[in-house]
Amino acid sequence: MNRTHRQITAAKVLTATILIVFFFISVAPFFLVWSAAFKDKAELITNVFGLPSKFHFSNIQKAWVQGHFGTYYKNSIIVVIPVVVGTILLSITNAYALAYFRIPAKELVFGLILLGMTIPMEVVIIQLYYHLMKLGLLNTLTGLVLAQIGMGIPFGTFFLRGTLKEFPRSLIEAAEIDGAGTFKVLTRILIPMAGPAIMTLIVFFFTWTWNEFLLTLVVIHKDSLRTLPVGMAFFQGRYVGDTPLIAMGASLMTLPIIVIYILLQKYVISGITAGALKE
């Protein structure tokens, strides 16, 4: 071991200590909630910090059936799939048109779409409520899905337009000379090439939709149609004091997000940095 190496080690020890402290701050609440989810009420009062002495797997069933988490789960899935698929399809066609075609007032259209990225949800919901009521879509999952697609289109269009613009034009021209129509160019050439960007968007839109709260709170009032976040908010009001059940609900609800994040974190992190820095 030479001297410079040892010098670096001292700084590294300090760095490691700081990082480990923050590691605990970030991760401890997850650990506490997961272990609380399997305790009974009595044990949680005497033993907050340790693992459960006995795992109460019946909590899963209690949250799922009595706590209506089964219903909320079903609704969340019914909403998230069409939102992710719909937003991405409509964003791709938007991006394709805006990146490659001559369109009257193109700058204005793109500007209006970009505006959507900064419009806060608060401004939308006041009138969206009455708007959906008139269309007969208030208190329906269809209304919720359509509004969420509308909310996602600006970012999707912006993100994919940037991706498509980076592809060499010659590639498309070559395909056109071979007689490929615009639809073929889009589905056979551009979409496969945009694979990683689309993957990133899938993760984004899945997370956003899965976690969306304010919009759902306003649009859905029937308990049988609530998605997980709104269901959770009402659930904690109904079961005040039953922390294990609330913790179980929280664990069940976040499980898919955490699994997706750990499996696909390459796309999440690269997407977030690219998305934030490209603006």
Partner: protein, 283 residues
């Protein structure tokens, strides 16, 4: 053109159209049922004499400290010590620090409500363990600590996000620049101050603006943790919009509040975009 139609239509019908209606509603009085009455700028004038509006605005300002300033500084600090020490297990920390950010804020609020609970909460139990039980209190029920407690939860959510962006920024810096500093006898601090900080200006601006807007839009956390209470101690603008529109049936006033919030966000975005443009031209 045909390709643009479906996407543009969905966006216009469900987002743009309601937004325009809200802007118009800002100059009306409407309880949601009867006839709308045009009142000009009256709703906006009322804002200036509404103490709850100013309280909410100042609460949002405190949240800017917790959700923008602290996470940005912490994120920059952590990214820097990881990068300059060439730390090996960085991936592990990157994943762990970022984890709170992907959670639903409702879940985050529920978890932290339990942590702050006065009777059996984690924080008070922890204080008891280390013999500081006198510091224990009803964190969210006490108007002295409620806002800071919500704010700290916001810091917990966002600092990892900031760190990840800064780490990505660090990756673009050429190592030869550090070597030049080392050659001139510079230490780690010099590397940070003369090389890293100027190179990260863009990232710092992006993170700050994004988190600034996030702090202004805070809703889920406050709704779940305190509903704006005790009193109006943690009331924020977007919660006040929600209450006016869906609880007090004052739609016109809610619209004026929402439009004000939107204008603040537009102004900030516009100013920063201009500053960035000028900055990019100079460098």
């Amino acid at each position: 053109m045909l390709y643009l139609l479906p996407g543009l239509l969905t966006y216009t019908v469900f987002i743009l159209f309601p937004v325009i209606q809200t802007v118009i509603l800002g100059s009306m009085e409407w309880n949601g049922m009867g006839a709308k009455k045009f009142v000009g700028l009256q709703n906006y004038l009322e804002l200036f004499s509404d103490p709850i509006f100013f309280q909410s605005l100042s609460n949002n300002a405190v949240l800017v400290l917790f959700i923008m300033v602290l996470p940005t500084l912490l994120g920059l600090f952590l990214a820097t010590i990881i990068e300059l020490n060439n730390f090996t297990y960085r991936k592990l920390f990157e994943v762990a620090f970022f984890m709170p950010y992907i959670l639903s804020l409702v879940v985050v609020g529920v978890i932290w409500r339990w942590i702050y609970n006065p009777a059996f909460g984690v924080l008070n139990q922890l204080l008891n363990r280390v013999g500081l039980s006198s510091l224990g209190r009803a964190w969210l029920g006490d108007s002295q600590t409620a806002l800071a407690s919500v704010g700290f939860t916001g810091t917990w959510v966002h600092y990892g996000f900031a760190m990840v962006i800064f780490l990505a920024g660090y990756r673009k810096i050429s190592p030869s620049l550090y070597d030049a500093v080392a050659l001139d006898g510079g230490n780690g601090w010099h590397k940070f101050w003369y090389v890293a900080l100027p190179s990260l200006t863009n990232e710092i601006m992006v993170v700050s603006v994004y988190l600034f807007i996030n702090s202004l839009k805070t809703f889920d956390l406050v709704y779940v943790m305190t509903k704006g209470g005790p009193g109006y101690a943690t009331n924020v603008l977007s919660l006040y919009v929600f209450k006016n529109a869906f609880q007090y049936n004052r739609n016109g006033y809610a619209a004026a509040l929402a439009v004000t919030l939107m204008l603040i966000i537009f102004t900030i975005t516009l100013v920063v975009t201009q500053v960035r443009k000028r900055y990019e031209q100079n460098s």
